[in-house]
Amino acid sequence: MSALDLALRCAGADGFALDITERLSLTGVTAVFGASGSGKTTLLECVAGLRAPEPGSRIAFDDETWVDTGHSLPPWRRGIGYVFQDARLFPHLDVRGNLTYGQRRKVSAKGPTLAQVCAWLGLQDLLHRAPDTLSAGQRQRVSMGRALLAAPRLLLLDEPLANLDGDSRRQCLAALRHAIAASRIPALYVSHDAEEVSHLADRLLILAAGRVTEHGSMLDLSSRIDSALAKDEQAAAIVHCQLAAHDSPFGLSELHCEGNSLWVNHLPGEIGSLHRLRIPARDVSLCRELPRDTSILNILPVQLDEIEPGDAPRLLVRLRAGEQFLLARITRKSATALQLKVGDKLFAQIKSTALLTETAEPA
């Protein structure tokens, strides 16, 4: 397992100073999450060698020193792959020329083949196109393929979906996630979108004003009500579950989670495969009694674990379901009416359409 050791100080673009001392274990995707101007891109540029941190900073990848006093390994010798927010494809090369640019310069004999990368990212039909004829989503997929073909030891992605929206964003996200998983290259993924982060990340590094405020596994941080992720309107818990059955007449699939059934839209997957569900807090409601005659399919018995303090009109509560946690955002009025307190046995109703499913690497 690789690790990135950071002792970084760097003046940012708009007044804040990045100040990070952290050891990142690099497995899967580590999301770097924070508001605009929190230093996410500055961090990535320092790691890539595109920006020089202040003297005294240190960056080491495994036992290879990238930055130290009087020493800075240039970007072209760091063995990284960078996917920029603005794609940055070479306008004088077609898609194939862009894809193979890094491949022709790689030092390692490893790395995926052109055919593999095209299959992961759906680029087969684009190879002879010029970059300026591509859609924004296609450009980002080509940019991702170009980075992967350079056989990097570390992928750096700087909000690659920021310029996309709607379907194009969803498709590109799915393609990127698939390619990252298939290539098995650890990634640092910068984003300010909580939903994107929970789709992709295994680990999470949260920045605020240039400093690390939280760092840990996605599963732990996503179920905390005091995390920066929870502040987001998109706050959601992530639960692991197993595909139990397909219910073809109704077009649904059944998942098992902590001994309970959850119904989701038909999942193309094998029975027994592991999945990660994202359950948005705003789509979870609470009842004291097991609801009957309801159109809501997914009802889990839970125990109230934590209530967000404060006097905001809406508050977040954490619910324990077996070994896992859900979040629910409810009004303070309801919390008072139900006389909610820690330890209460409740039923959580989840709108089935709110369940976003995704395959996950076995944990």
Binding site: G49, R78, G81, D86, F90, Y101, V107, A147
Partner: protein, 225 residues
């Protein structure tokens, strides 16, 4: 065309060719440096490069003549190394032409280089390209047309040079007597028919070269807007 005129044409083409080659080799790194730097030193160098555009050729020629004279440091060193006098030689013409035509090569290249986004070079760097490789694989293809423009302008301008040549080269047949000088001789001696031949030839040549250059407006690239 007389043998002397042919000699003058041959000499002119040799001078322009040699000068252009040297200018492209010197001008490319100089233009790159100027396009990526800000500050007093680059500004001063940029001003020096542009000087031949506004100075009378005679001023440039006068100082070059002093510099290349056998009793100057440069002239003496040249004589010791090659055994030949530098002033009034073909080599002196090349040195003078390189300085005189420098802005015609450096300025279009510098403008084109400045339009190559640094972000593309960063992308190339993260993909394993060293700075020289970035220049070869990204900058050069994006500025292909500007290289052509710079070479053509440098060549054409050297062909059309007169004042500097007369000051440092004199009028030695086969050595420094280029077309523009030969033309001047004809006019001085009122041989207008012969003068027409050379003057008309230069007009046609320059027009043709510039026409071909501007007609060749290919796909827009970094060196065009």
């Amino acid at each position: 065309m007389t043998a002397a005129e042919l000699d003058a044409v041959r000499l002119t083409l040799a001078l322009a060719g040699t000068t252009t080659l040297i200018l492209m080799l010197l001008g490319t790194p100089l233009a790159w440096w100027l396009s990526r730097r800000r500050g007093n030193l680059p500004a001063l160098v940029e001003a020096l490069v542009a000087m031949p555009l506004i100075l009378p050729p005679t001023v440039l020629g006068f100082y070059l003549l002093l510099m290349l004279a056998p009793d100057s440091a440069v002239g003496a060193l040249w004589q010791r190394l090659t055994g030949q006098q530098l002033a009034f030689s073909f080599s002196a013409l090349v040195i003078g032409s390189v300085i005189y035509s420098l802005p015609f090569v450096v300025q279009p290249l510098q403008a084109a280089f400045a339009r190559v986004p640094t972000t593309l070079l960063q992308a190339a760097a993260t993909l394993g390209a060293t700075p020289l490789d970035q220049f070869r694989s990204v900058v050069a293809p994006l500025c292909r047309r500007s290289f052509l423009v710079a070479a053509c302008l440098g060549f054409a301008h050297t062909v059309g040079e007169f004042g500097v040549i007369l000051m440092i080269g004199g009028n030695i047949p086969g050595e420094t007597r280029v077309v523009s000088v030969a033309l001047y001789d004809y006019v001085e001696s009122l041989q207008f028919a012969e003068a027409h031949r050379l003057a008309g030839g230069l007009v046609v040549f320059s027009l043709l070269l510039l026409f071909l250059l501007y007609r060749n407006n290919g796909r827009p690239r970094a060196d065009q807007q």
